[in-house]
């Protein structure tokens, strides 16, 4: 059976991708989830994976092509595989494959546009027959404030998805201040015994408490689509990473709930590294089921995140700091605290559930053995 493998969407804010490298050639046998190509999006270079098993019959996309999401980039022969997967169902009818954006542009203007990552689709050419001239590019550069790779730039992409979220999702917000003296003592002792490279990262331990707590609150972990909530049986924890130079990316640790703290710790570091250096998988960018945003290292005490649709909740971690607290004996003392917040979708859950969820995180953070 012939299967047109489409350019996948690597997030709700992506509508096209630039083909950087093929990892397969005609005649190769590919397995589902095998990396087949590298694609540059507005945010990063991402490794895309095959959606199914098959033999490569044709390579349609060319290196350097900017290709719309859903457009076939390769053709597989999936003999004996008659079951259509979701991707096949939602992929649009075959469209012309050569989707490289072509513009009437002078060579000098083209060179300058490429050097400065100018999006030509946003320029109206002032030359003969609408040709984009060097002057047009120079004018664009004067107004350009952010690096745009092509198509939509990162700031525009974030703006679109966050505006959609705030417009469509009725958020509610809760905050809980959690005492961390017990956790800090535990992690100090734990890390003292570990080799430097095995050392547990404090934010990873905090996230692990969120993951464990989600097990009891499935209504905070899933997707709201077509007026309906779908709870998911696994936790793919999205983590908001600030991008140097501006912007945010939210890749996910896949099946984070099946990992030990040690494994999750390594997975977070690996994910952070690949977010910076490139090499994220499409699953990691599209299948997050709930997100954590950590502003502690930015120096802010609290953050109320905006839900990343179609997810239904986001947890915010603030700065860990010492403050005056009253202990169980009514004595004032200095102790470590963190403000943990929840922004959740009121169409799916309510404040009572949200408050219980934050209390569960508190309970787990103050019982560090539960995190092992």
């Amino acid at each position: 059976m012939k299967y047109n493998l489409p350019m996948p969407s690597l997030g709700a804010d992506m509508d096209e991708g630039k083909l950087m490298e093929w990892k397969i050639k005609v005649g190769d046998t590919v397995k589902k989830n095998q990396t087949i190509a590298q694609v540059e999006t507005t945010k990063s270079v991402v490794e895309i994976e095959s959606f199914r098993d098959g033999i490569v019959m044709d390579i349609l996309g060319k290196i350097g092509d900017v290709i719309k999401v859903g457009t076939p980039i390769a053709v597989l022969d999936t003999k004996g595989d008659e079951i259509l997967d979701k991707t096949t169902v939602v992929s649009p009818a075959p469209t012309p494959v050569t989707t490289t954006l072509r513009f009437k542009i002078s060579p000098a203007a083209k060179k300058m546009a490429e050097e400065n990552h100018i999006d030509l689709s946003k320029i109206s050419g002032s030359g003969t027959g609408g040709e984009i001239t060097l002057k047009d590019i120079e004018e664009k550069l004067k107004t350009k404030t952010e690096k745009a790779y092509f198509g939509v730039n990162l700031r525009e992409a974030i703006s679109a998805i966050m505006a959609k979220s705030k417009k469509e999702i009725p958020h509610y917000y809760l905050k809980k201040r959690i005492h961390l003296d017990t956790l800090m003592s535990w992690i100090d002792e734990k890390n003292k015994t570990l080799a430097p490279t095995e050392r547990l990262l404090l934010p990873a331990v905090l996230m692990r408490a969120v993951i464990i707590s989600l097990n009891k609150f499935p209504d905070l972990n899933g997707y709201y689509k077509k007026e309906k909530f779908e709870a998911l049986g696994i936790v793919n924890l999205g983590i908001a990473f600030a991008i140097k130079g501006g912007g945010v990316m939210v890749p996910a640790v896949i099946e984070a709930d099946k990992m030990t703290t040690s494994l999750f710790n390594k997975a977070v570091q690996d994910l952070a590294e690949r977010t910076k250096e490139g090499g994220l998988k499409n699953r990691e960018l599209t299948e997050g089921t709930m997100t954590v945003t950590n502003v502690g290292d930015l120096g802010s005490d609290e953050v109320f995140g905006i839900i990343f649709p179609p997810q239904v909740a986001i947890v915010g971690l603030g700065r860990i700091r010492k403050e005056a607290i009253i202990d169980k004996g009514d004595q004032l003392k200095a102790g470590f605290v963190i403000d943990v917040t929840l922004s959740a979708d009121h169409r799916v859950s309510d404040g009572l559930m949200g408050a219980r969820f934050l209390s569960e995180i508190d309970k787990n953070l103050n019982d560090p053995k539960s995190l092992e």
């Binding site: 800090m184 890390n191 003292k192 050392r199 990262l201 404090l202 502690g296 120096g299 470590f336």
Partner: protein, 84 residues
């Protein structure tokens, strides 16, 4: 180990983990993140690199309390002296 030795190890660790940051241009008395773009993971990796080079373990509770590199270096020197 003296103040300059600690700085040398940090200079090497910064160069290894975040080569875009010039250690000698950092004002050690000001919060690091107010001066350079560095995330918690890079900073954590610098601490791990420092530990690997020197064998000195800096607890997370101390890292959470200290507000600049001067305080961190002072802490390291004091903890070394107290062991001696």
């Amino acid at each position: 180990m003296n103040n300059e030795d600690v700085k040398t190890y940090f200079r090497e660790s910064f160069h290894q983990i975040a080569p875009e940051i010039v250690f000698d241009k950092i004002n050690l008395d000001l919060p690091l993140r107010d001066q350079v773009e560095i995330d918690s993971l890079d900073f954590y990796n610098i601490i791990v690199s420092f530990q690997k080079k020197t064998g000195i373990y800096i607890p997370d509770s101390k890292l959470a309390e200290l507000s600049n590199l001067s305080e961190l270096i002072d802490y390291i020197l004091k903890s070394q002296n107290s062991k001696a």
